[in-house]
């Protein structure tokens, strides 16, 4: 499991000193590996019925690679390095009066080029969305992002 990092941070010391509970919102990230091996779905993922529905049902195996929490702050991008070497970034854009949170996400290549330049979503606490399809070790990565608070 890797700790989330901040775009403003430059050292692991700073990362460790950045508590999640100071964030305005928090994103839970599950990194899953989907393959066609015959090993089934990790029991820890039983609360994700989406994995048994098309198109996800076409993969026979889902394993949980990582479970991390990304603190969301306005004007500050939290980042997390994915198993395929790319980096997921997320940033708080705003909180609406009804409690809905607007956030942006992006995925960049190791060299810094954008793979997914921009994704902006509006979600409420407890809601999740999935970013899937990146190739990884004879399968794909499935990123399950839930607005935790």
């Amino acid at each position: 499991m890797q700790a989330p990092t901040s775009a403003r941070s430059s050292s692991s010391h700073f990362r460790a000193a950045e508590p999640v509970d100071r964030a305005a919102a928090e994103l839970e990230l599950l990194v899953l590996h989907a393959t066609h091996d015959k090993r089934g779905i990790d029991p820890r993922l039983r609360d994700l019925p989406e994995l048994t529905k098309p198109p996800f049902a076409s993969f026979a195996t889902y394993s949980l690679l990582e479970n991390v929490r990304l603190p969301l702050r306005r004007g500050e991008k939290a980042t997390h390095r994915l198993p395929n070497g790319r980096t997921l970034g997320a940033e708080l854009l705003g909180v609406e009066p009804n409690g809905a949170v607007r956030l942006s996400a992006s995925i960049s290549e190791p060299g810094g080029n954008a793979f997914l330049p921009l994704l902006e979503v509006r979600a409420k606490v407890g809601q999740r969305f999935i970013v899937a399809g990146q190739g990884y070790r004879r399968g794909i990565l499935v990123l399950v992002l839930t607005l935790a608070r």
Binding site: E50, F56, F115, L118, K124, R128, G135
Partner: protein, 163 residues
Amino acid sequence: MKLNDETLMLFHDGELDAERARAVRVGRLHHSEVTARLEALGVLGDAVRSWAEETGVDAAFERRRAARRVGRRRALGLGATLLAAVLAVPGTVPTLRRAGVGNAPADPVPSTRGEPRVRSSPVAVEAVDFGAHPGAVFEVEGDAMGETTVVWLDDASADLGTL
């Protein structure tokens, strides 16, 4: 034979000649990467077709394709053609959506039947830029509380190898 995306998309559309289709089937048997890639392209192709049907792009594209058909060695399937067109013009990838996705309100929508319960609208995708890669936004059935928004990325980095 190198199984690139175009070949696999043509196979998905049933438009490969018998010899090359056999090579893909063999590849699928022995290389899980081929199956995974076919699945990914199938999802994307379905989304492209859905988007094309909704927007009428397919009809316009068919007219242009028919005009160019003379002299072409082969005709690509709609999915492959649209996908190729999308791939060929970075930055012009459409935001592929299915009905009900997009700027739907994030507020709960009360159910009017059966047990009183609240079904949440899915997470609303307000903007997406897939960059140089095609992609799709759609929904899948989630838990009892509603559907889940999915952003599907077409990643050509998967190495399918040479068969």
